[in-house]
Structure formats: C-alpha cells, structure tokens
C-alpha cells in the first residue's frame, strides 16, 4: 500500500508535497527528503575540503529539515530555507572542528567508492577517448573548485549547483548582493584560469 502511495508522491508537485509533509504525512516528508538528498549531499561535498564526513552532515541536514518542516512559513522559499540549513550545518561542523580550509588531496578522489569508476566503464554510449577526457575534466573541475578560497567556493556552489539568485545567496551568507556579484565574478575568473585548456 505504501509502495503504491509512494509512486504517486514521486509525481507530486513540490508545493503540494511540502503541504502534505507539513500536515504530518511522513510518506510526503520522505519523498521530499529523497528528492533533495542528492543536491544536499553534493552541496556539502563541494562546500567542504576533503575529509569531512559528508554522510553524517547530510543526515544532519535531513534530520533538521524533517524536524522543522512545519516551521517553514512560505513554501515557495523552501529552496532558500533548505540552503540556510545546509549552510548552518556545514559551518557549525566547521567551527566545531576548527578545520584548516582548502586542503585537497588528489588521492582522495581515487579513494572514493568503486562505483565511481565502474559507472564510467558501464556507459557504452560515449567513445572511450571522450570518456577519459570527461573523467579528466571532472577531476580538474573538482580540484579547481576545492582549491578556491572558501568565500569563492561557497558562491560557486550556491550559484552553479543550487541555482540560487544573487539575492538568495546574499541572504544565506548574510551579506549584500554587490559582494555576491563580485565574489562570483572573481571565482569564475579563477576557474577560467584553471580550466583554460578546456575553454579555448
């Protein structure tokens, strides 16, 4: 029965889903969390230098969303609200650990679970040479983002991954739009330099 209901929830409009979740419908809440779990993970992954326990942080974000979904007043602000939670969880953890920023180990990529590589091999739709090129580009982009200083890294993630507007980013970072605009421009200039071989 739950399985059949879940299939319907998968097609449900986001606003309706939030409505249902706020009405103590746990299947709706589960679907809401499922729908956003990937982007939450990815955001935390790119915000943080390697070594951070992204699984734990993702769980913490999901827990906070679950616990406070009823306090969300404007459903249309869900994305902004969710990102504020991600940001808070990330920086709470960072403050606790007093970590050193911008550490990147190229080895860490190869220590990732094996499905990273097997996924690449399974896909036969792309020519092997192109696959290698894409893989190399992915590694370079990952490295380039992680090497950015924190203020630049966070705006790139919030803009390019989350697709937030400058105003939304400014609210999350508690700064003004001009600063966001300038940081995004500078971050892109740095990335352009690092990725220049792929941009010409």
């Amino acid at each position: 029965m739950d399985y059949l209901r879940k299939k319907d929830y998968k097609k449900m409009d986001l606003m309706l889903l939030i409505d249902e979740a706020q009405g103590s419908d746990w299947v709706a809440l589960e679907e809401l969390l499922r729908r956003h779990s990937g982007i939450i993970y990815s955001t935390l992954y790119h915000l943080g230098p390697s070594g951070q326990n992204i699984d734990d942080l993702s769980q913490e974000v999901l827990m906070r969303i679950a616990k406070s979904i009823k306090s969300l007043k404007k459903k249309e602000h869900f994305k902004l609200w969710m990102n504020q939670i991600i940001y808070n969880v990330f920086y709470d953890d960072l403050r606790r650990k007093k970590r050193k920023p911008n550490m990147f180990s190229i080895d860490s990529f190869y220590d990732e679970p094996s499905e990273f590589q097997s996924k690449e091999i399974e896909d036969t739709s792309i020519h092997p040479d192109e696959k290698i090129k894409n893989f190399e580009l992915d590694v370079l982009i990952r490295k380039s983002i992680r090497e950015l200083e924190e203020p630049f890294r966070e705006v790139v993630v919030l803009r390019e991954l989350q697709g937030l507007s400058y105003e939304q980013i400014a609210r999350i970072l508690d700064t003004n739009i001009g600063t966001v605009k300038s940081r995004i421009a500078r971050a892109r200039a740095k990335l352009q330099e690092k990725l220049k071989d792929y941009l010409d």
């Binding site: 746990w26 990937g38 990815s42 679950a66 991954l161 400058y166």
Partner: protein, 86 residues
Amino acid sequence: MRNGINCKLVSEHLSAFVDEELDFDFSSEIKRHLCECLDCRRKFAKMLKLHYLLKKYFAGESLLEHKAKFVSNLKFVSSVDFVTQK
C-alpha cells in the same frame, strides 16, 4: 565606447550578465556592445562555456550515486520526526 559602456565595464559585469542578474537597461546595453565588439564576445563565449561546464559537472551522476547510500536511512529520519513531534 558607446553610451557609457566600454570593454572594461562589460568585462566587470559579464559574470552577472551570464546569470541574468543585471537590470534590463544595463543588460541591453551590454548586448548591444557585444554585437559590436569581438574581444568582448570572445570573453562572453568563454564565460558561458565555463558556466555550462560547471552545470554539466554538477549535474553529473557520479556524486548523486552517493545518495543511494544514505537515502536508505530516510525512512528512519521521517519516522523519528513524527515520533518526536507527537
């Protein structure tokens, strides 16, 4: 230089232009400048390419593979929520 718009100004605002974060009038001025200036058009093309490379990278499935690892715990998350709220 045209109507106060020059290459330096365009270069400074190209990133926000790509993000469609400029007001309509200023954006139109930049568009007009781009039609006339090859150097700025090249910079714009490069900026746009970076934007799409990052979008493609972030949209890649590799990282999302991870979600399967912890999505299995979602039932626990939502159940805990409603148990604690009742």
